[in-house]
């Protein structure tokens, strides 16, 4: 199976490791963001200088940019065209799901009090969806 480390080739193993590192970095930065927003870091967005708010809002971009560099590099190096197709399909659905969720929640902003916070979960939702779709596809073609 693709997620069994024994069956991964070195390229796939390296990609999977780096993907998980960026995923963990995203989760850690997400927790840092939430702590900042609720004031657990000793200062809050309401009392902090605007520049600090910008810095904190730009932080989650770093792992996402890393992921955007990582994915095309892996796809360029992956020789197995079928695996490439599976990864591309998974990424496509990974992008589609957050877009659909954002659109639906965006239209329901009056009824959904959590609508403002939804974009914060986009990267996490993208990664989790892509991983699940990839796992499902690999299982399907066993």
């Amino acid at each position: 199976m693709l997620f069994c480390r024994k069956k991964l080739n070195p390229l796939q193993r390296r990609f999977a490791t780096l993907f998980f590192v960026t995923l963990i970095a995203t989760a850690l930065l997400f927790m840092l963001e939430v702590s900042f927003n609720v004031g657990h870091l000793g200062f809050s967005p309401h009392t902090s200088p605007l520049a600090l708010c910008y810095v904190f809002s730009l932080l989650p971009v770093i792992p996402f940019l890393a992921m955007m560099l990582l994915i095309p590099r892996y796809l360029r190096q992956e020789k197995d065209e079928f695996v490439r197709t599976l990864v591309l399909r998974a990424l496509l659905l990974g992008f589609a799901v957050p877009m659909v969720v954002d659109t639906v929640v965006g239209f329901a902003w009056k009824a959904a009090p959590f609508a403002d916070a939804m974009p914060m979960f986009n990267v996490d939702l993208f990664c989790i969806t892509a991983l699940f779709v990839l796992a499902f596809q690999v299982r399907r073609y066993q």
Binding site: D80, F82, V83, T85, Q142
Partner: protein, 66 residues
Amino acid sequence: MKNRLRVLRAERNWSQADLAERLEVSRQSVNAIETGKFDPSLPLAFRIARLFNSSIESIFLDSDPD
């Protein structure tokens, strides 16, 4: 697209893993091609044809000849 990959592989007593190793692809790729769920690219089709000493059209059958 239908193909004779499973037959050709069976004639040589190769497992899907054996064929995958010879083609330098994953076993899932071989399975997907054999079951017609995935059509290989032209370079991979040529590699398969070379491996079985056959032509592409004798391995891959056009289901819509028109």
